[in-house]
Amino acid sequence: MAALQHLVNLIAGPEDIGRSRWFWAAFAAVCALLFVNPLWLTEFEATNGAYYLLNVPIALGLGLLWGYCGILSFGQVAYFGIAGYIYGIVAGNMVGDATGPIIGSLCGLAVCGLVATIFGYFVFYGRVQNWIVPILTLVLTLLLETFLGQTAGYQWRVGSVQLGGYNGMTGIPAFQLGSYVVMGYGFYYYVLIVVIATYLGLRLLVNSRHGKVMLAIREDAIRTELLGYDIRARQLVVFVLAAVLAGISGLFYVQWGNYITPSQVGLVQASLPVVWVAVGGRESLLAVLLSTCALNWLNYTLSSEGYQYALIIIGALLVAVMLFFPSGIVVTLARDLPRHLRTLRGQRKGEVQ
């Protein structure tokens, strides 16, 4: 019981916005609403709902990396793509075997972790300067896209699965638990549960001892190191964790649409997680969660209206947010709104609390 109490205290710790009783009541209400949603949504709408949610893990991973640890990565979609493709290859070769999707998912995440570990080793153990990490992650993404783009033709076949070049990989099996194929409402619940668990888990992490060290590295890396922490290893661990989270989104994506193309790891896609995190506010997991859902919904609506403007709007949004809300829209609102409200109420009562 004491352990449980400790856990609850950690989750509600100081390193995210939304700590009041009111917040947790609202959070519980929203979760409950999301869980009963399928009662009135059609199966198609529920699948769309899952689409708005499925990018949350990659965004939370980037928020953790950039906002809480001070490491910016432009290459999170590389891990998204790696997980998706590996899942497609493994599960696609095990069609008919009920354990295929689970083994495929695990393989996808393991390869993500492995690539991130190798890449991170060179970057963090080389103690490179701050700006080099985003550049190299971007280069990795571009190379991955180029590589996947030229995999058209029969020589690029792994077992019975075609990589497919720019046409992408099609017919990727859905997720499956035993004999239950996770689709429709089931897929919605599967994504929802993982997303909520990821959010609460990361809140736990940033308020734990490890989280404090992470924040210390962001604030002053040299001082943290002089206090006796191995910052290289800490940064590497966070980097790998963020990569695995990006991989989870990649798995969701291929299990949702049953296909993936190289443009999923292209420059445009690479910019999206950065936009979601910057617009919400990188120093708050909750802000990232909210802005990711909202912007995915916006993007989905915009692209059905006319895709050509979508990129310009996204670019302009990014520039505007960086100019006018450097710490993010949601975070700025959460910080300033209560103060404004208090001032307003104070004026009305003729006193300022």
Binding site: W131, F147, Q150
Partner: protein
């Protein structure tokens, strides 16, 4: 004679790759070295240079004038960009990275909407010269010579002019430079404008060799950034020169045997290994050597 021609051909291959890397990265490395800002819109500025060149060339302007025009147009655009947006991000490296990325999205998609999916190509000027059984493109020979010329010009700009002296002062210690009456704001604007102009110039030079399209900048992004990362920001000119020579030594043989894509992958791997060995880039290593020699001299 034959082995001589082979030797020249091999040197030509290395020099072409070196000049490509150097020109791709030059504008980027000028801005990074002097202002500590990574300009992620670099590829799109090159695209703008190529667009300027293509539009002017098809109006009958001679090619070399087109390249100079590209330098001026993109340089002016760079100055405007610096005044309105970039200057708010001095001292915030990651913020500058993100905002310039937003600019690059707007520029490439904007070009697509205004000019359509491609512009008419420019034929490669000049013919070829033969030596033994090999023939060399006059255009690329000129570009190689030009890139050496540009490095020399940059060197004298930074070491022989008042602007260069003030720019180096602002880079070493901006507060002190300001206290001594240097207008650092102006220096930063001119530097960013110069870097943008160089990107536009390189874009115009590469315009005859690639297809001119809104997203053409992307193909230069990876080699340019790898060159910059390997070169480091300690000394602009030694960094650019050292890293493009070194990377050309990696890329040329591997690209020759395994193809262009594997050559670029080899660049990334080389960059990872090099930053593991010298995290601040080649320029820092060279600078240390020079400093040591000067101390003992």
């Amino acid at each position: 004679m034959d082995s001589f021609a082979t030797g020249v051909s091999i040197i030509y291959q290395f020099a072409t790759n070196g000049a490509f890397l150097l020109l791709s990265a030059l504008g980027l490395i000028v801005i990074l070295g002097m202002m500590n800002i990574i300009n992620l819109a670099h590829g799109e500025l090159m695209m703008m240079g190529a667009y300027t060149a293509s539009i002017a060339w098809h109006r009958g302007v001679p090619f070399w004038l087109c390249a100079i025009l590209a330098f001026l147009v993109v340089g002016l655009f760079g100055a405007a960009l610096e005044r309105t947006i970039v200057r708010r991000f001095y001292g915030r490296e990651l913020g500058a990275l993100v905002v310039t990325w937003g600019i690059s999205l707007i520029l490439s998609q904007g070009a697509l909407m205004v000019f359509g999916p491609f512009l008419p190509a420019i034929p490669i000027p000049g013919g070829s010269v033969g030596l033994g059984q090999y023939s060399f493109s006059v255009y690329w020979l000129t570009v190689i010579a030009l890139s050496f010329g540009l490095i020399a010009a940059l060197w004298s700009l930074y070491n022989r002019t008042t602007f260069g002296l003030q720019a180096r002062a602002a880079m070493q210690n901006a507060a002190m430079a300001r206290a001594l009456g240097v207008n650092t704001e102006r220096i930063y604007m001119l530097t960013f404008s110069l870097g943008a102009g160089l990107a536009g110039f390189s874009g115009a030079l590469f315009a005859p060799t690639v297809s001119i399209a809104p997203f053409m900048g992307q193909q230069f992004v990876a080699p340019a950034f790898i060159t910059v990362v390997v070169g480091g920001a300690t000394n602009v000119i030694t960094g650019a020169l050292g890293s493009s020579v070194l990377l050309s030594l990696v890329k040329t043989p591997i690209g020759f045997v395994f193809g262009a894509f594997v050559g670029t992958v080899a660049l990334l791997l080389a960059a990872l290994i090099i930053i593991r060995l010298m995290p601040d880039g080649i320029s820092a290593v060279i600078q240390r050597q020079v400093d040591r020699r000067n101390r003992f001299a």
